[in-house]
């Protein structure tokens, strides 16, 4: 296999890479997926933390998978279950108490009454507003991005449709949306509530996985971005239980194999070969080459365009824009294998549960202050899940795995991830006495470890921060939001493209469509 030929090469076997590869293969292309790790699946796959204990690598809360991907890849046939749209959130409070946020707003309101009658009254209306605004944003996330080109009819039509999808919601809602998307989530919350616990929990959702604190501008946007993915239509309500969840990666791998996709693991790509402005294939770290007129990169845009492609082939302004993409990861991850279920409060929910430690906006913002200056966070905010509750296959019977997202962890050389693991253990111990003794294994990653493990630049989940200035037409960089890099035959399909991160497969399906459209037209669209 010193030199092979194929129709398309996929760099990176993460979920978007698998989606794109499968979609292309189903249209008759010969596709080779090259995965640097020993296992495909990227951040969405599971890993074995302790013999018999499996844990989702990064993505422990799964939003709904892209409907077009599910349909076109027939993922249902391969065991993909509809996403579960909302978890029940238990906010653990410093006094040992807790506040539960149910998927049902009225139920949450009833619990809130003990804290504040005003907040209880405001909560359902606030939820309705957020949902309406997330709905308004969703067309932007679900579609491909039109270009700012008014001379192309098809494109003009797409622009018009998009404008209308927002405008038809009425003048007032459009005005509200335009106002709130630029606001900080702290301002939005403090305008409506007085209970720290509820504000802290919502604030954490707005900033988790991003390089923002709750007082950073446009964190309402990041909240809506997250909600729009989670609350997508087609997800089943959390109460419809009974199935065990299946990691989408397993379904994707099966679908890919069934479509004839060749998946090579342990195959790191060294460079993308370009001649005369056109993609010719890839060179692997072991020196072998693969000839292919199409290369689709699931790697982040910065790595793809500054490391894999030689600078000779790209315009200076494009490279400068790519370098300017903010990719600083700020989120840590701690995984546990546990001898028994920790003693955390478990309200009857009938759906997935998660626990958060984010008792107030100030708590989260102070944690952010540390990471802003590259320091370890003494008291981070946490999002805790126990995947083995939903999927008993994750751990031996009676035993459990726990996955914790840590807001925040700095991307710095001096950062000691294991120290963060200890901090997190102590924090959970405070709410679940005896927890520390049940730990069979613990693994803690800061952004640097995540970067090394998954090849995500900066260790950023989303391959580039989620922010208004890195969204939609300007993601990954202005003028290149259509999955096409400015080299004939080179495409991007990772989270660094529109609509961003989250295990939805939207980026992958859109990129595959761009490839197939260009193939059909015999040449690429501008």
């Amino acid at each position: 296999m010193n030199n092979t030929k194929t129709d398309a090469v996929l760099i990176g076997g993460g979920h978007n890479g698998l989606v794109a590869a499968t979609r292309m293969a189903r249209s008759g292309m010969r596709v080779v997926v090259l995965e640097a790790n020993e296992q495909a699946g990227g951040a969405a796959r599971g890993y074995e933390i302790h013999p018999g204990f499996h844990l989702p690598a990064l993505a422990h809360m799964l939003p709904a998978f892209d409907r077009r991907a599910v349909r076109e890849l027939k993922l249902g046939r391969y065991g993909l279950k509809p996403g579960i749209n909302e978890a029940t959130t238990v906010s653990l409070l410093p006094d040992g108490g807790n506040l539960t946020l149910h998927p049902d707003a009225d139920k949450t309101a009833a619990d809130l009454r003990a804290h504040s009658a005003g907040d209880a009254e405001a909560w359902p209306a606030f939820q309705r507003q957020l949902r309406a605004q997330a709905d308004a944003l969703r067309p932007l996330l679900a579609s491909e991005v039109p270009r700012l080109d008014f001379s192309d009819r098809r494109n003009l039509f797409a622009l018009g449709r998009l404008g209308w999808s927002i405008r038809r919601r009425g003048r007032q809602q459009m005005r509200d949306l335009l106002q709130v998307v630029t606001m900080s989530v702290a301002d939005l919350l403090e305008d409506r509530f007085e209970t720290d616990a509820i504000m802290g929990a919502v604030a954490l959702d707005a900033v988790l996985g991003t390089d923002h604190g709750p007082r950073s501008p446009h964190t309402v946007f990041t909240l809506l971005h997250r909600l729009a993915g989670q609350l997508a239509p087609g997800t089943r309500p959390a109460s419809a239980t009974g199935d065990t969840r299946r990691q989408p990666v397993e379904a994707l791998l099966e679908a890919a194999r069934a479509a004839g996709v060749e998946i090579r693991t342990g195959a790191a790509v060294k460079s993308i070969r370009v001649e005369a402005g056109a993609t010719r294939g890839v060179e692997l770290a072991d020196g072998s080459t693969i000839d292919s007129p199409v290369v689709v990169s699931n790697a982040d845009p910065v790595t793809t365009c500054t490391e894999l492609v030689d600078a000779d082939h790209l315009d200076a302004d494009f490279r400068r824009e790519v370098r300017a993409i903010r990719t600083k990861g700020t989120t840590g991850k701690v995984g546990f294998a546990l001898d028994r279920l920790p003693d955390l409060p478990q309200p009857a929910s009938g759906g997935p549960l998660r626990w958060v430690i984010a008792p107030s906006i100030g708590y989260v913002e102070r944690a952010f202050d540390h990471v802003k200056y590259g320091e370890a966070v003494p008291e981070p905010a946490l999002e805790i899940t126990i995947p083995s509750l939903d999927d008993p296959d994750c751990a031996p019977s009676g035993q459990h795995v726990m996955s914790v997202n840590v807001a925040y962890a700095p991307y710095s050389e001096s950062f000691d991830a294991d120290e963060m693991g200890k901090t997190v253990t102590a924090m959970i111990e405070r709410h679940a006495p005896g927890f520390a003794e049940t730990i069979l294994a613990r693994e803690a990653w800061g952004p640097r470890e995540i970067e090394a493990r998954f090849g995500m630049r900066g260790g950023h989940w989303h391959h580039g921060d989620i922010a208004l200035d890195q969204f939609f037409m300007v993601r990954p960089v202005p003028g290149f939001a259509q999955y096409r890099a400015p080299i004939e035959g080179l495409y991007l399909c990772g989270a660094g493209t529109h609509p961003g991160g989250g295990v939805t497969g939207t980026n992958g399906i859109n990129a595959a469509r761009a490839v197939l459209r260009d193939r059909r037209n015999g040449r690429r669209a501008a």
Partner: protein, 385 residues
């Protein structure tokens, strides 16, 4: 006390006292002469004897290193391999969208040593383009002083001064010589469409250069010229200029204002045979597309009034505007450079030009018939001979 805002070039101590009008203007932070005495006489000297224009404020970048040629080929639209050591050439450069950033001259001293001369600051753009290459890029504007010697007697002046290489220095040739003990670089380049040379020296040698040239000229004299006279000559020659015929694409907000080299008649200066360069992809798409919407043209108008800032009409439809206009002393005509929509850019097309002027203080308008002609109005054999 506030320091003077504009810097003085090393020639200022000579040229300052010669400027009878005391009319100066800004050029990249330097004071540069608008006119010394009378622009008509200064222009006449360009076409009839020899003139000197201080081009020190022009930005000068020294490019050196193993990857210097590779860097230049990433930057410019022409192929630097077609410029041998000891030669210079004119070239535009573009951004990734194929819009022109600037045009200027590239000197090739050796395989790996170059100088780029242009009107705007380009260091950050050059550094961005040089990403990953082993090349050194220095702004040497302050270290190098330069005089543009233009006119039919310019060669004669250099020979008298003892720069014998001028005798057979070809058009766009470059020679590194000595004027007595002073190192000088002479290039056969210029902005006037006439026989002319540019002489480049270390800044500290500027005054000595002038004195030696003046001594060589003896009673024939050298006429210093200001920007007005130069502008007349450059429009006659049909040379484009940043901020006149096109804006710098980097600082232009309105997309429709950005110009492509195809619109400016520079398609000859785009070499698609070489590998990727900034804007190649976009330029290729432009080339394969329906063609530029605007074109640079020359206009000839009746009467003596220059059609400055005139809107051009075909019937009631505005189809273009003039970018620079003068009364040409050589052609004895009112001429203008203009950007015109492509369907109206063919030679011989007649357009109506709205020419504004003031009679006493009252703003007047006359509608003149402007005829489209090639934008290189003059072609003097001595320029290249």
């Amino acid at each position: 006390m506030i320091e003077p805002i504009l810097q003085k070039t090393p020639f200022h101590e000579i040229l300052g006292p010669l400027n009878r009008t005391e009319e100066w203007e800004r050029w990249q932070g330097y004071a540069t002469a608008t006119r010394f005495y009378n622009e008509g006489q200064e222009y006449a000297a360009i076409r009839n004897s020899v003139t000197a224009y201080d081009i020190t404020p022009m930005l000068k970048y020294r490019i050196e290193g193993p990857d210097a040629a590779r860097f230049i080929n990433r930057l410019i639209t022409r192929d630097i391999e077609r410029c041998r050591p000891g030669r210079c050439f004119y070239t535009p450069w573009c951004n990734g969208a194929g819009h022109i950033i600037e045009d200027g001259t590239v000197f090739r001293f050796s395989d790996n040593e170059f100088q780029i001369n242009c009107a705007e600051h380009n260091l950050t753009w050059f550094l961005a383009t040089a990403d990953g290459l082993d090349v050194r890029i220095d702004d040497v504007t302050e270290q190098i002083a330069a005089l543009s010697l233009q006119g039919p007697l310019s060669r004669d002046l250099l020979l008298r001064a003892g720069i014998t290489e001028a005798a057979d220095l070809r058009y766009f040739g470059l020679v590194q010589s000595r004027l007595q003990d002073m190192p000088v670089t002479v290039t056969r380049t210029g902005f006037t469409g006439d026989l002319g040379y540019e002489v480049w020296v270390r800044s500290e040698d500027a005054v000595a250069l002038w004195e030696r040239l003046e001594a060589a000229a003896d009673s024939r004299g050298i006429t210093p010229i200001g920007s007005i006279a130069l502008n007349i000559a450059r429009i006659e020659a049909g040379h484009i200029q940043v901020h006149s015929e096109y804006p710098d694409a980097r600082t232009t907000v309105d997309l429709s204002e950005k110009r492509s080299p195809f619109e400016l008649g520079l398609s000859w200066a785009i070499d698609f045979r070489k590998d990727h360069f900034n804007g190649r992809r976009a330029l290729l798409a432009q080339k394969e597309g329906p063609g530029p919407q605007l074109r640079l043209v020359g206009l000839e108008l009746p009467g003596r009034r220059p059609a400055v800032d005139s809107v051009l009409y075909s019937g009631k439809r505005a189809v273009g505007e003039t970018t620079a206009a003068i009364w040409s002393p050589l052609l004895k005509k009112s001429i203008a450079l203009a950007l015109v929509e492509a369907p109206w850019a063919a030679n011989g097309t007649k357009l109506q030009a709205e020419v504004h002027f003031r009679r006493e203080l009252r703003l007047q308008r006359s509608d003149e018939v402007a005829r489209v002609v090639p934008h290189r109005f003059i072609d003097l054999p001595r320029r290249q001979a």
